[in-house]
Amino acid sequence: MRYFDPHIHMTSRTTDDYAAMRQAGIEAVIEPAFWLGQPRSHVGTFEDYFRSLIGWEPFRAGQFGVRHFCTLSLNPKEANNSAVAPGVFDLLSIYLQKDAVVAVGEIGYDEITPDEERYFQLQLELAQRFDLPILVHTPHRDKKRGTERSLALIRAVGFPEERALIDHNTEETLPLVLETGCWAGHSIYPNTKMDESRMVALVKRFGTDRIIINSAADWGVSDPLKVPKTAQAMRASGISEEDIETIVWHNPATFFSQSGKLDLCTVEQPIDQTQLWEGNSVLRGQAPTPTSGALSGKETV
């Protein structure tokens, strides 16, 4: 089965991870911009991080046959850092327009401060301006309240709920999200957040509609293979292949294709690793594969 991990911080992972992920069937990933474990003190380090997410990391992923997209934002934690927050926010009007950026995120609440709320709202407006869906982080502490406030803000701003993915859900927050039109993400972690067996129970109880799972693997103790491992747990518990495929492929693909930048036909085509570069024949003297007509040889200029 092919898998889509729509929340994973590959910047922190090794080439061994990429190889193991591809081996396990992960064909596409989305890397949300978040914090890097240590606070940043310059706007420029954010900008270089954004540049890496739109250029270098997709290239690294492509070498292993994995398609890499990203979401960009001023994250909730660092929205509280007044030395960098305004400058990072100013970068977004250029970077959100890049081809690889399929949503605004992670945005939302961490400690539920006024600054977090202000930048959450400003970025909801940016998402509307650039016609992008949003990926909403929910806090580790006071999660239920943070989730309620996120849903309330989305509704108050009039942001279309079907274009919002609320992430890191638990047994307590999932029913709240499903009552709205928003989608519900679940981060399957070795210790915290959500685990495989609890996720199986949630799918049995709530079904597959608007349900998404991810590994959220990053620089901490985490596992980039949690999506296929959770699928295996679902399989073992008798959940149908069709339902599993809905959760691990069709749902994330459908949600993020609302960006208009995640071409499902492209995602579903295998990467030609001999080319490394989006079919550009300038690079290796190969003509693009003709779709019709009599394109042959060196038609490119």
């Binding site: 900008e47 739109i54 290239f59 250029i94 570069w277 550009n280 300038v282 690079l283 490119t300």
Partner: protein
């Protein structure tokens, strides 16, 4: 020696625009001047940068289909090498040629660097393809050196393959390192335009040393070393 004085920029700009058959983005913002003056239009760098980023959607990423007539027209305008493969690349090159003729040279140079720095791989690729077509192209060597050092192979190849820029503007050291890097990446050296003009005793020495290093390590020797070792 290829030099960009042989490029008919205006004709090329017209050709690219006609070929794309799509409106070019307007990098000017209208604004109202004083009450005594009519509305003026001013060049706006951020508008240009946003349009440059948005060119993939404006022009599409589909491959170019150039007829023999198109190719001979390009050749007549001074472009005798494979310039680009996709529509958005053509569009971005056309935008840069137009901007270079409309913006003050120093302003254009800093804007080009900024577009490159904040560009994704597709955007950077288009800039590297456009370099040999821009006026006073020797201004952009530091940007090109950066691409020559890149581990992003698509960028490196955009500079090295079918591009007259390096052999025309690179001094010996970056040129030699670029050639050796191309050799080690398995890029066909006959795609380096003007390489024959840049053969030097130093490049030959570096090649001999490279071959010795490969032999000592028990590794294969790329066939293309012959091109660098012949007299």
């Amino acid at each position: 020696m290829i030099s960009n004085t042989m490029i008919d920029s205006e004709g090329l700009s017209d050709f690219l625009t006609t070929y794309l058959h799509a409106p070019m983005p307007d990098p000017y913002h209208s604004y109202d001047g004083t009450q005594n003056r009519a509305a003026q239009k001013v060049w706006d760098e951020k508008t240009f940068r946003e349009s440059f980023t948005g060119a993939s959607r404006r022009f599409g990423q589909t491959p170019l289909y150039l007829s023999d007539q198109d190719l001979s027209e390009l050749s007549r305008l001074g472009v005798t090498w494979p310039l680009a493969a996709t529509r958005d690349e053509f569009g971005r090159i056309a935008m840069l040629i137009a901007a270079a003729s409309e913006v003050h040279p120093a302003g254009f140079q800093s804007m080009l660097q900024r577009c490159y720095d904040e560009g994704d791989t597709r955007e950077r690729h288009s800039i590297l393809r456009a370099l040999p077509l821009l006026p006073s192209a020797e201004r952009f060597t530091s940007l090109a050196f950066d691409a020559g050092r890149s581990h992003l192979q698509p960028l490196f190849e955009a500079l090295v393959c079918d591009n007259p820029y390096p052999s025309t503007y690179f001094p010996d050291r970056p040129m030699n390192h670029m050639v050796l890097k191309a050799l080690s990446l398995g890029i066909d050296l006959d795609r380096i335009i003007g390489l024959e003009r840049r053969m030097t005793p130093e490049l030959k020495r570096m090649t001999v040393d490279y071959v010795a290093e490969r032999r000592a390590a028990g590794r294969s020797i790329p066939a293309d070393v012959r091109l660098l070792l012949r007299d």
